[in-house]
């Protein structure tokens, strides 16, 4: 009898059904909503499930940090329409004309800056997609490597401080958020370097993945290159001063900084004489399109995750794990494996809020360094954004670069999941990567 399944098992079935249903090809948001309703109704009744959905949607609508998404997207479209962003990426390409994979360097550089200014993955992935994809396409870059670099680079924001994930994690693990911020800096930069080594390294082995500029397109006159570079650099620099600068200098919170960036992009198009009401209105329409695509999906997957949690499956899995008698190192490894697996169907929020509190007492008992553990978890959770099928980064990128096949985006992200595991291994084996900086800054 199917009605004899416990709620926890229903949760597992829900994940199984989702892995299949998403690939039928119906819009993912509505598929997730439907599955949430069906399995929620089965587990705890239709009335409560529907109510849970209403609450989750309303909760997503009132999340002020997410207001940064439309603002950054608008900024991206304004710059793109005025042709101001392409110029930077072309300029970088001219500068590093003979270097293979030079655009990957540019993308990762922008990713780190973005990561240091905000913690909103949706915003950085879309904006990098809008800015870099066109030039990458023109230059014949490999779609998989390109989309992997952009999606992985975009997730750096939740590791490199300020990071909303670390802010949520701090109180749960009883560690001051300041310590976590300090601890995340080195691993964050390390991840960026690993991405760089991988993407550029592959281009060195196989230049067709990220070809250098053809000889005839490289101007022989160095002064032309410098001129292009500076002209290309000026508008984004001004914009960064507006958006990211206002955040980094403490003028603005990340959401406000996004508003400054949006405002700055209008000013900039005016200054360059490229402002037109029609183009601005087009940018507004496109902003709405991309923001809805992102945010509706966020709300739908929040609901799906809430049903999964309410069914009790994450708690069950955690308790099974804890019932095994293991050493501290083995427990940490198992927890990371668990978080990695849960990252496939879930986003980081339910993982941090539900799993970590259950594990925290055990880890304290085993005398695990909690700062180190928190950073391991953070690096591990970054993969939740990169692991299909609930891999929001992939959908954000597909939204702004429709000509890239979702399958290629998936395959590209998966390569970077391997890099992620290597990074995780490094932090695991060399705890000082995480623990040295907070000790250096704050003592103890």
């Amino acid at each position: 009898m199917m009605f004899e399944f416990s709620n926890e098992i229903i949760g597992l079935l829900m994940i199984g059904a989702m892995l299949f249903a998403i690939f039928i090809g119906f819009p993912i948001s509505f598929t997730l909503i439907f599955l949430g309703i069906i399995f929620g109704a089965w587990g705890f009744g239709i009335k409560l499930t529907i109510f849970l959905m209403t609450l989750q949607f309303y909760g997503s609508m009132m999340e002020q940090t997410l207001a940064a998404v439309p603002l950054f997207v608008f900024m991206g479209f304004m710059m793109e329409q005025a042709g101001l962003m392409e110029r930077l990426f072309s300029a970088v390409q001219l500068m590093l004309a003979r270097m293979k994979g030079s655009l990957f360097v540019a993308v990762l550089f922008v990713s780190v800056i973005f990561g240091a200014a905000t913690g909103i993955v949706g915003a950085s992935v879309t904006i990098l997609g809008i800015m870099a994809a066109k030039t990458m396409n023109k230059s014949g870059y490999d779609v998989r490597l390109a989309s992997g670099t952009i999606t992985a680079g975009g997730t750096l924001g939740i590791l490199i401080p300020p990071s909303i994930m670390l802010v949520v994690m701090g109180p749960v693990l009883e560690i001051p958020v300041t310590d976590l911020f300090a601890a995340a800096i080195i691993p964050g930069v390390m991840m960026a370097v690993l991405y760089l080594v991988y993407s550029v390294g592959r281009c060195w082995i196989n230049p067709s993945l990220g070809p250098p500029l053809p000889e005839d397109m490289i101007p022989t006159d160095r002064s032309v290159i410098w001129r292009e570079f500076f002209l290309g650099l000026v508008p984004p620099t001004i914009l960064i001063a507006f958006a990211l600068g206002s955040i980094l200098s403490g003028w603005a919170t990340p959401t406000e900084g996004a508003g400054m960036g949006a405002f700055g992009s209008i000013i900039l198009t005016l200054m360059y004489g490229k402002f037109s009401t029609k183009k601005t209105y087009d940018a507004l329409i496109k902003t709405l399109e991309i923001s809805v695509l992102i945010l509706f999906l966020v709300a739908a997957s929040n609901f799906f995750g809430a049903v999964f949690s309410r069914l009790g499956t994450p708690t069950m899995i955690t308790e099974i794990l804890l019932s095994m008698d293991l050493s501290a190192g083995a427990v940490v490894l198992l927890i990371l494996a668990l978080i990695f697996l849960l990252g496939w169907p879930l986003e980081w929020v339910p993982i941090v809020l539900i799993i970590l509190p259950i594990l925290q007492p055990v880890l304290i008992e085993l005398q695990v360094d909690m700062v180190w553990f928190a950073i391991l978890v953070a690096v591990c959770l970054q993969t939740a954004w990169l692991s299909p099928p609930v891999a929001l980064s992939a959908y954000f990128l597909k939204g702004v670069v429709p000509e890239w096949d979702l399958k290629d985006i998936y395959l590209g992200m998966m390569q970077f999941m391997v890099i992620q595991l290597i990074g995780l291994g490094l932090v695991f084996m060399i705890p000082a990567l995480a623990t040295w900086l907070p000790r250096y800054i704050y003592g103890n």
């Binding site: 909760g59 109180p171 200098s249 809020l353």
Partner: protein, 343 residues
Amino acid sequence: ETTIRVQSVIPATADEIVMLKDFANDVRELTDGEVNIEVLPAGSVVGVQETLDAVDAGLIEGGFAWTHYWSGKHPAAMLFGSPVAGGGVGMDNIAFMSWFLSAGGKELYEQLWDEMDMNVVGFMLQPVGPEALGWFKEPIESMADFRKYRFRTPPGIPGQTYKDIGVASVAMGGGDILPALEKGTIDAAEWCCPKPDSVFGFQKVLKHYYLQGLHQVVVNADLYLNKDVFNGLTPLQQKAIEVAANASLMKSMAYRIHENGKALDKLVNEDGVILHDTPADYFTEYMNAANKALEKNAEENEFFAKVWQSQKDFAKTAVPFWAGAQTSNANLGRAYADQLKNE
């Protein structure tokens, strides 16, 4: 056997949850293991703001927060959860408990949930006041100094009152506070009390700490259960919850004094935090503004007026006595604290 899942609005490791679990344990033992209260961390089923709605609908059986979290549903919730400036009538948290338990507060509290049209039964569990004024970049000598700083304020009327007295009060989600302090987007902030504040990590960014504040001098956390769930319990089980709740009031107060004391000691003696007295003009200015806000709300809402009137009636006779007695308590305590300082 009944399992009651209670979702809280704070992480599972907070002091409030320690005390909530202690209460759950009392209930379990009093009911011979028949009633099991299971505590879920914030956000596990619904978001913080949706907790009460979820209990009302029966999505979860219970919720745990501070009553004023639901000020949006009814302004009078503030008078129970965090009556601004002691209700404007000088109540501290102990005097509040006196009003609540022996001067009609509890009956009005039960009525509050009906006024909100919520299908719940509430139990006051944890008096957790007074909360600190907050953390500052530089010491403040007067209200004029205070007005120079961008100050992250608590939600609702307690925060609006700062705006009313000309403080540059900033509205900001909890997640933004620490990064904003580090970068100087804001210069000062309040959170709660020494223990939670030090867990948050304020001491790493700001060093000037002010304990005496009025915005949340009285703060109460409570438990509310879905009424159908509660009515489904036997009279004995219901009584067990009530008795355990009353016991929790005293236990929490005791626990908090001890825990906050230890935390403050560490802040001052190990982390280099400097403790200051709040400028005297703060108290008069904040009190006056709070009273205006209370009066405005009382004019606009009948039930609010009724609750406030009850607090005023109580305070008229109780506060002069209690304040007099408390002065000797405070002087006694300060004398000892000064003695410690000189040792």
